[in-house]
């Protein structure tokens, strides 16, 4: 469903992504790993059209994404979370998530001003959906807290719920478990699996190998902007370049 073809991205002198190609099958969880600064977030940013690639093409279900703007991408069915949290701090939790329903409603300025019955119906539907997503990630009890007052772990869940509310086909998760302790990470893992099982493909960037290796169907490894490996978690764990560049020699020790 997602095809990345020879994508290169450079910022001035820094080449963040260099000639990256891969494909992404529907219904999978794919992991994207690599050292800090390898270009993972950059790749995510291009898939969500926050900026275009310098070279190369990205296709999602036969739509070329290069010339689209971010808000159009969402309508194609791609949603994401952010490594550096981007919640709407001054809105309540449920309002945050209702924004995920934005693309599924039509109310414009004028109809909103007069608040026709259809507007009210639409609002209620969005609310129901948002509460559903909150319940799904287990945040429903906090629905009316101001998002800015949440602790970090809950913020991550909130971003996840918000992304889910757009009803995506492809979900990009950028370091969704950063700042969670082992127990919370474990819960997150179950959640991701559940999302996949509901038919959403998931693309995760994570530094928590436990998480990546246990849930991913496929793992792609970047190093200094280049793709150095792609394969099943097993293959990746034993890939010499990956061990050298990223996992480190003692990784197995700890995992085992």
């Amino acid at each position: 469903m997602l095809r990345v073809e020879h994508v290169t991205k450079s910022f001035g002198g820094v080449v963040a992504n260099k000639d990256i190609s891969f494909t992404f099958e529907e219904g999978q969880i794919v992991g994207l790993i690599g050292p800090n600064g390898a270009g993972k977030s950059t790749l995510f940013n291009m898939i969500s059209a926050i900026f275009p690639p310098t070279e190369g093409n990205i296709f999602f279900k036969d739509h070329q994404l290069n010339d689209l703007s971010t808000h159009e991408i969402v309508r194609l069915g791609i949603s994401r979370t952010f490594q550096n949290l981007q919640v709407f701090k001054n809105m309540t939790v449920v309002e945050n998530v209702m924004l995920g329903q934005h693309i599924h409603s039509k109310t414009g300025l004028l109809s909103a001003a007069f608040r026709w019955p259809s507007v009210r119906r639409e609002d209620e539907r969005a609310y129901e959906k948002a509460m559903g997503c909150l319940a799904f990630v287990g945040l429903d009890h906090l629905y009316k807290v101001k998002a800015g007052n949440l602790a970090l772990g809950n913020l991550r869940l909130l971003e996840l719920a918000r992304a889910l509310a757009t009803e995506p086909q492809l979900l990009l998760l950028d370091e969704i478990a950063a700042g969670l302790n082992q127990k919370e990470t474990r819960d997150m893992r179950e959640l991701i699996k559940k999302i996949r099982d509901s038919g959403v493909s998931v693309f995760v960037v994570e530094h928590d190998m436990d998480l990546v290796m246990t849930i991913c169907d496929k793992v792609i490894v970047l190093d200094q902007g280049e793709k150095i490996a792609e394969g099943t978690p097993k293959e990746i764990q034993n890939h010499p370049r990956v061990i050298e560049a990223y996992l480190g020699a003692e990784m197995e020790e700890e995992a085992g």
Partner: protein, 292 residues
């Protein structure tokens, strides 16, 4: 040709005035991210205090420095009594706050000095020089020199010293700055003092040109603000460039197109430049869409 040169010289000298005012904006902005709309009032204070001291019979240069020091002190006072207390305010509220200060100072000034403009003698004898048919007064030359000196000093301070980096750190993230042992309050106080001093200096320099009065700060404030933005907020050379550009555009459009439309032309020009360079001529450093 003579006309052209005259317009150019006029533009330069007006532009230098705007530039000095703009540098005051830059000083405060680059430390606190506050836009101080009372900047124009410090210019006024400089001029009016000078007038007061000279009228009271103090020697010229003593009056000059006394005016400078007192105005700078008012800057410090403003920071300590008003700005510092408005901790939780967002940038727009802070702007309105400085506006409140400006209205306050202006009101007091009109009660003390009345509404009439006053006269202040130039630094040196004011026999104009004639350069290829264009006339320029020594005071205008003083203004330009002063402006160049200030921008050089500020540029060095902000860009080349650790203190300057500490300034910028306070502007970017005061909390983190305090964790580095930088005292944002002290810096903020320092920047207001410095900037009020600069404002007063501008006032002292232009008092002999334009007859200061209690309300001169409004116009200079607007022009200085525009110059600072046009140049790219936070950049001292940018402010100077912005000031000169506005001054020159005004002079040339008054000279060649229409003096009635000169403001409209100058501000249309500002708009156009901003369209081409959304962060001003010298651009503010920005991380754009980085760090997501």
């Amino acid at each position: 040709m003579g006309d052209f040169l005259q317009f150019f010289v006029s533009g330069l000298s007006i532009g230098s005035v705007y530039a000095i005012v703009a540098l005051g904006f830059v000083t405060i902005y680059s430390v606190t991210k506050v836009i101080n709309l009372a900047q124009g009032e410090f210019v006024m204070l400089g001029g009016m205090l000078m007038f007061t001291f000279v009228s009271a019979g103090l020697p010229y240069w003593l009056s000059f420095f006394a005016a400078l020091v007192i105005a700078a002190f008012f800057g410090k006072l403003m920071e300590g009594t008003v700005i510092r207390r408005a901790k939780g305010a967002d940038p727009v509220s802070l702007i309105i706050l400085t506006l409140g200060v400006a209205i306050f100072i202006r009101g007091i000034a009109s009660m003390i000095w009345g509404k009439n403009p006053v006269r202040v003698e130039p630094f040196t004898s004011n026999q104009p020089y004639n350069i290829f048919g264009a006339s320029i007064t020594p005071q205008s030359i003083w203004v330009m020199l002063l402006m160049l000196f200030i921008v050089a000093a500020l540029y060095f301070l902000i860009e080349r010293t650790l203190l300057g980096k500490a300034f910028q750190a306070c502007a970017v993230n005061p909390t983190a700055a305090s964790l580095m042992g930088i005292n944002p309050k002290q810096m903020s106080s320092f920047s207001f003092t410095l900037s009020a001093g600069l404002g007063a200096l501008a006032g002292l320099a232009i008092a002999p040109i334009m007859f200061p009065s209690y309300d001169m700060g409004i116009m200079l404030g607007v022009k200085g603000f525009s110059a600072a933005i046009l140049g790219g907020l936070g950049s001292a050379p940018g402010a100077v460039l912005g000031g000169l550009v506005i001054g020159l555009v005004e002079a040339f459009s008054a000279g060649y197109i229409s003096s009635g439309l000169k403001d409209a032309i100058a501000f249309t020009f500002v708009l156009l430049i901003l369209l081409i360079r959304p962060y001003g001529i010298m651009g503010e450093r920005s991380v754009g869409k980085g760090g997501l």
